[in-house]
Every structure is written in C-alpha cells, then in structure tokens.
C-alpha cells in the first residue's frame, strides 16, 4: 500500500517537473524579453515599462546562470508559487481556485453519470453474452467510442439546445448548464466501462469458483453477492485508472466547447495567448488531478483485491 502512494507521489513530482521544465523552456524560447512581457502583463504597456522590466529582471533572477534559474523555477513550482498571469496580472493561484472547483464538479458528475449507465449496461450484457442486450450494447459502445468527445458534444448541443431548446448551450452556474458537458463525457466513459464490465461479468460467470459456489448449495443471491460482485468489480475499478486519462483530456475539450469556465478551458486559453504562468498553473493542476484520480483507483483496487495487497 505504501508502495502505491510512493509511486503516485513520484508521479506527482514528475508531473511538476515535466510541466515546469516545458514552461521554463517555453518562457525562454518565445520571442521577446521575458521580463518585458511579464512587466507588460503586470503593469500594462505604458511608458515606464523599461524601468519596470529592469526591476522584474532582478526579481526573476534572469541575470543568473541558466541552471540556477531552472532549479529555482522548479523550486517555485514545487512550492506552488506559480506567479502572475500575463494577461490579467492577478496571481495564478487565485484564478486556479475558482476554475478547479468548476472542473471538479464537471469531472465528478461525468464520472457519476457514466457509472450509473456503463456498469449497469455491462452487467446485463455480461449475464447473457451474445444476447440481444449484449449485441445492442456492443453496437452502441462501438459507435460512441468512434465519436470524438468534441463531435459528441456538438451533436448533443445541436440536438438538446438548438433543436429542442431544452438545455442552455453554454455557461456555468446551474446544474442545467453542467448537464450537457457532463453528459458528453459520461457517454464516452460509459461506452468503455460497459464493455469492461461486460467482459468481467462474463468471465466471473464462467469462473470455476462461481460454479463451485453454486455447487456448495448457496442460494443464488448469496452466490452473486459474495462471490460475483467483488470479483467482477476488480477489473472495472482498475480500468477507471485508464479512464482518468479520458476524463482529464475530455475535460479540456468539453470545457472549451461549452465555454465552461473550468481549468481545461483556462489551459486552452492560456496556450492560445501564450500566458505561460497560466499554462504552467493549469497544466500542473490538471496533471495533479490525473494523479489523484489514479491514486484513488489504486486505493480502491487495493481494498477490493487481496492479491494486489500482497504484491505491494
């Protein structure tokens, strides 16, 4: 168990280093003097900018050797001192706080929605592999997986807000506005988890221990409850770790599409505007979000599967 957490902490460190290093390089290869751009970002492009830039140069330590600058940069990142946005001039951390909340809500509701749909469909497909439900669910899963999230989001937007006018196409604040982006992500997630659940249920139903539980004379409810559910849940839960990738990537895409003021939207904006402190901050937070989801999945798997416990 400790091994998992150490591995995830290392991963978090790696995320910080990768993001930090890329942004450090980015800061230095972009045309124009970094100090000048930051000063302009903070104080506005007016006459006294050269003076401000000089102050900034000293503040940033741009006169020191590159390695020292890099180490200090990484040190700042690790201390979560993320600097100020070049566009708005306000501290990156402040902006992130609001956006992170919005994104968490979106990701959590998407995940919850997908878990309501995917595993349930998977369960019924897996109980009768090759049956009508299974084939229908398979066709659905194949099609939904072939639709990129942004196309799916567009289709939902066109159908539910433009054609039917049931839901707002964009914005933030009420559950109604969150429904479309969350549904977009949830459908993609459910398409994947339904198949994993189906395979896992079918495998458990065929497993010798499941048959043996019946031969022992246990009532069907006990057989399923004690020997079926936990075993079938293990692959589904560990697959959630892979879905974390889809979820985090999906958040970026769907937030941009629905103009949802979350961290993914902010990241894309920062990339377009080359607001490096914001790029660094948002990428860092999203990367850490990914690590946290993976760590939660680790913990769940660990709790469900004694074999993992021993290997750890």
């Amino acid at each position: 168990m400790r091994n998992f957490l150490v591995a995830r902490l290392l991963q978090a460190g790696l995320v910080a280093t990768v993001v930090g290093a890329l942004c450090f390089v980015l800061m230095r290869v972009l045309p124009g003097d970094a100090a000048m751009r930051i000063a302009a970002g903070r104080y506005g492009p007016d006459a006294r900018i050269a003076e401000a830039a000089e102050k900034m140069r000293l503040e940033l330590g741009l006169d020191r050797p590159l390695t020292a600058q890099f180490l200090e940069w990484i040190g700042d990142v690790l201390r979560l001192d993320l600097g100020h946005s070049l566009v708005t001039g306000s501290p990156v951390v402040h902006e992130l706080k609001v956006q992170l909340g919005a994104s968490m809500w979106l990701a959590a509701s998407a995940l919850a929605l997908s878990l309501l749909v995917g595993p349930v469909i998977g369960l019924f497909s897996g109980l009768k592999p090759g049956g009508a439900i299974d084939r229908l669910a398979l066709a659905g899963a194949v099609i939904f997986r072939a639709i990129p999230p942004f196309v799916l989001g567009l289709i939902l937007m066109l159908v539910f807000s433009k054609q039917l006018g049931w839901l707002p196409p964009a914005g933030f604040g009420s559950p109604r506005e969150m429904l479309l982006p969350a549904l977009t992500l949830a459908l993609g997630l459910a398409a994947m988890s339904s198949r994993i659940t189906r395979n896992s249920v079918a495998a458990v139903a065929k497993a010798p221990y499941f048959a043996f539980a019946r031969y022992k004379g246990l009532p069907e409810a006990v057989v399923v409850g004690r020997h079926g559910l936990r075993n079938a849940a293990i692959p589904v839960v560990s697959y959630l770790g892979l879905q974390a990738v889809y979820l985090v990537e999906g958040v970026v895409v769907v937030e941009s599409l629905f103009a949802y003021p979350g961290i993914g939207h902010a990241l894309v904006h920062a990339v377009v505007e080359r607001d490096i402190p914001m790029v660094q901050g948002t990428a860092l937070v999203m990367g850490l979000m990914f690590v946290v989801i993976a760590a939660i999945v680790d913990l769940l798997t660990h709790w469900l599967d004694p074999r993992v416990r021993r290997m750890a």
Partner: protein
C-alpha cells in the same frame, strides 16, 4: 457385475448426447455405503460427464437419458431447480483443481463458514466455530485467514475437502481430486477420501490415476471413448484385467514396470561438484556432487519445488550455481548437450509447423533430411504429423518429436526434465521405453528428473533423492 441388492445410487443405461451425436453411452453402475465407485479413464473418455449427469450440471447442449436413481428418486426426471436444491445438501462435489474453485478474493474460513451459514442456516458465530472445526479436521487450523493464492495446491485440496465435510451430504462426487498434485499429496488426499467412505458417505471418484483407484478400493469402472469397457470390484479388476485397454493401462503404471536400469557404458560426460543453489532465501541443495556417464540414466526425484529443474539448468549451463563447478568432457560441441521439456507444447514454437522447425534445423547444421526420416521411423512417428502445428498433435507424439530433434544433433547428454509427467500413462511408458532404447543403442548420458519414485527406481541404476530438506509446499 456385482450389484448390491439395495444400492443408494444406481445408474442404469445412462447415455449423454450432444447435438453432434452420442458421447457417452450405456453406463450402468451402483454405489452403496462402504462401497465407493471409481471411474478410471483418460481425459476425453467421458468420465467427468457421467459425474456431471449425476450432479445435474452438464454443459449446455448436452442431454442425459437413462436412469440415475438416488435413494428411490430418478434424478433425471427432476427439474433443474429441484436438482440444484440437492447441491451441497444431498450431493456434494469435490472440484478438480480446487485452487481455481476457491474464490480468489475471500479468505478460506468464510468460504467454509458460508456453508454452515447459508446452507445449514446457522447463525454467524456458530458457523465460524463449525468452520474452524472443519479446517482443523484437515490440519488447516492455522490457515483460515489465508487467501487461496497464499496456499499450495495440497492446502487448497484440503480446504475443498473441509468444505465437503461441512456440507455433510450423503453422496460425494470427487472429480479428479488429485489432478496436479505430486505423489505424496496425492496419497494424502486419497487417504482423506477413504475416511469419508468409512464415515458412511457414498463416494464416486473420477480419476486418471490407477494408484488412486487402487487405494480407494470398492468398484472400478474403466472408461474409454464414452463407454465403460470394464466394471468390476477393485481387487479383481486390478489383478486380472480382461479388456485390452485395462491391461495396457495397468501395465503402464510405473510401479508395474520391469526394472531396466541402464548402467554406465562409457566415461563421464558431465559432472558437477560441490553444487549449491539458493532460491528465495532458501537452500535448494548444497554441496551436491553428481556425475553422468555415457550410456547411463541417472534419475533425480523429489517433490515439486525441490530444485530438480534448477539442478538440470545448472548442469546445462543455463543458469549459474551459487557454488561449485560443472565440468563437461573436453572437446565436445555444446550442441551435443540437449534437453527435453516437461510441457512438450511449450518446447515448440506455437505457430511453426513441425516440418518447418525440422527443415530449418537440418539446414542449419547441414544434415540430411534422410536422418529425419530414419528417426521418424525409429520413433514410430507418421510423416503426416509433420505438417501440423505443435498444438495439433498429442503430448506423447510431440515429446517424441522433441526427442527426434535432440537426436538429430547426436547428443552426448540429455536432460529430461519431468519429460513424461504431463503425458497419459500409456504415452509415458512409450516415451520412456524409446529413451531407454536410444541409450542402449547410441549411448548418450541421460539425467532424468521425475517426481515419481517408481519411475526413478525402475529406469536407472542410480537415483538421487533431492528431498533431503524436508517436504515443501509451494504456492501455485
């Protein structure tokens, strides 16, 4: 046929049909108290299907006809729900390979206790106490908190017996209860089954192992291709078999072989001195001296996990010893040191036809294809098998191809690593006989690893027991 006047389970004219046709036909037998029945036969002989027809868990698509009368009721006329109600109550199954039949994510004690709790409907505390007694009864009192993956095959089998005991049904069906166990564990399982018989339970055992049938006594039915070719009391059938297949089966039993030890006919080919190896912080062997001379078969035997295979790998130079030296006779090509593997299909590339493998080998070493033809003839391998994939020929045939492949290189030393343990008894005898003949004809040195003491003693002048560290149980 010696059928009791009032048997508790009698089967009459039982046949099992699949959509493609009849796969088991006309089985009749009877079980009484103190008179167990053992069905003996190879995989595919239909013996497990008979057990499933009695239990009521035939695979979908299969259909049983005839009569299976258990205490006055014909089970085949019952509905699936009625039959399922008998499971764990009046009929109980001892599964094959119980380490697969135990729930991998649940500790052993609750897996036993749930029988008391949900089948016998006792309260939770009482169920746990009873389950502890059941486990103690098979010397697993200490193992209740273990998960199946933490137990050895023997422990798993004992846990399954504890569950059968907990169910306390009248009829116990044991389906290949010794599959995958070595001889020591096999004998302890048979002894426990015997105790169940003495306690008054009806026992039907399915096995491929003559030794199990002998130990259990009672009646033996020999199955071949879905028919019962012979059915008689154990003493009679084992002493004076009538059917040709039964005779072959009994003659193939290693204990019955005529000892034919090959003794050294030349000088020492390979020797190890002061060899030691540790694995997992445990000493497999230390200060071991071994030498094999041309023309002799030296056996190593011991239970699984004792380091037999490791010793062979060290001698072949495939893995280094922790201490000691291996010496080969000077001036010999390394190609003349060859190995036969335990699992023949694993020793061949799965998607390469046997012909392609042999052609490439012949070309690589600039040999003649006629050499292959000569050996095919010698090992009685039909040429039609050459164009098949390794998975499409039987284990015995494939092991002979492995022998052929090695013989092409004129081996001076052959390491046979449990080379016959996965084969059925008749093929096992066949392969070993060929090996003995080859040794006599061309005189390679053979180191034969086996877990079967009888084989070791029958085929070699010298047998090394690697079991001096006490029996070990390794997890599966």
């Amino acid at each position: 046929m010696n059928i009791q006047a009032n048997p508790d389970l009698s089967i009459a004219a039982l046949s099992i049909d699949s959509p493609e046709g009849r796969i088991v036909s006309d089985i009749s037998l009877a079980l009484g108290r103190g008179r167990p029945v053992t069905l003996l036969g190879e995989s595919g002989s239909g013996k497990s299907l008979v057990a499933q027809a009695i239990m009521g868990n035939l695979p979908p698509g299969l259909h049983a006809t005839g009569r299976v009368v258990f205490k006055g009721t014909d089970l085949l006329t019952e509905t699936p729900a009625q039959r399922r109600r008998r499971w764990g109550r009046s009929i109980c199954l001892l599964p094959q390979e119980p380490w697969l039949a135990l729930d991998p994510t649940m500790r052993v004690l609750p897996q036993v206790a749930e029988i008391h709790r949900f089948v016998k409907e006792k309260d939770a505390a009482r169920s746990n106490a009873l389950a502890k007694e059941n486990l103690a009864g098979v010397s697993l009192a200490h193992a209740g908190a273990l998960y199946p993956f933490q137990m050895s095959g023997g422990m798993g089998q004992r846990a399954a017996i504890a569950m059968a005991h907990a169910a306390d049904s009248e009829l116990l069906i044991a389906d290949e209860p010794t599959k995958g166990l070595d001889t020591v564990l096999r004998d302890s399982v048979t002894a426990r089954l015997k105790r169940e018989v003495e306690a008054g339970r009806l026992l039907l055992t399915i096995t491929h192992d003559v030794a199990v049938a002998r130990a259990l006594g009672g009646m033996i039915g020999v199955m071949l291709d879905g028919r019962m070719v012979e059915h008689a009391p154990a003493e009679k059938l084992l002493e004076a078999p009538e059917h040709a297949y039964t005779k072959a089966l009994l003659a193939a039993e290693p204990a019955k072989w005529e000892p034919q030890a090959s003794a050294a006919s030349g000088e020492v080919v390979l020797a190890g001195r002061g060899l030691a190896k540790r694995y997992d912080r445990r000493s497999l062997f230390s200060d071991l001296d071994i030498s094999v001379a041309a023309g002799e078969i030296v056996s190593i035997f011991g239970p699984s996990g004792c380091g037999k295979t490791t010793l062979g790998s060290i001698l072949l130079g495939l893995s280094p010893p922790d201490a000691g030296v291996v010496e080969r006779r000077a001036g010999m090509s390394p190609l003349r040191f060859q190995k036969l593997y335990q699992d023949p299909p694993a020793a061949f590339a799965p998607h390469q036809t046997i012909r392609k493998g042999l052609t490439d080998l012949v070309r690589l070493h600039a040999k003649e294809w006629t050499a292959v033809e000569r050996l095919l003839d010698r090992l009685r391998l039909p040429e039609t098998l050459l164009d098949r994939l390794p998975s499409q020929v039987s284990g015995g045939e494939l092991q002979r191809f492995a022998l052929l492949r090695a013989l092409l290189l004129d081996p001076a030393f052959l390491f046979a690593d449990e080379a016959t343990s996965r084969l059925d008894p008749v093929s096992q005898k066949e392969v070993i006989t060929f090996l003995q003949e080859i040794v006599r004809e061309t005189g390679p040195a053979v180191l034969f690893v086996t877990h079967d003491r009888d084989i070791a003693e029958n085929i070699s002048a010298r047998a090394i027991n690697l079991d001096n560290k006490g029996p070990l149980e390794t997890a599966h």
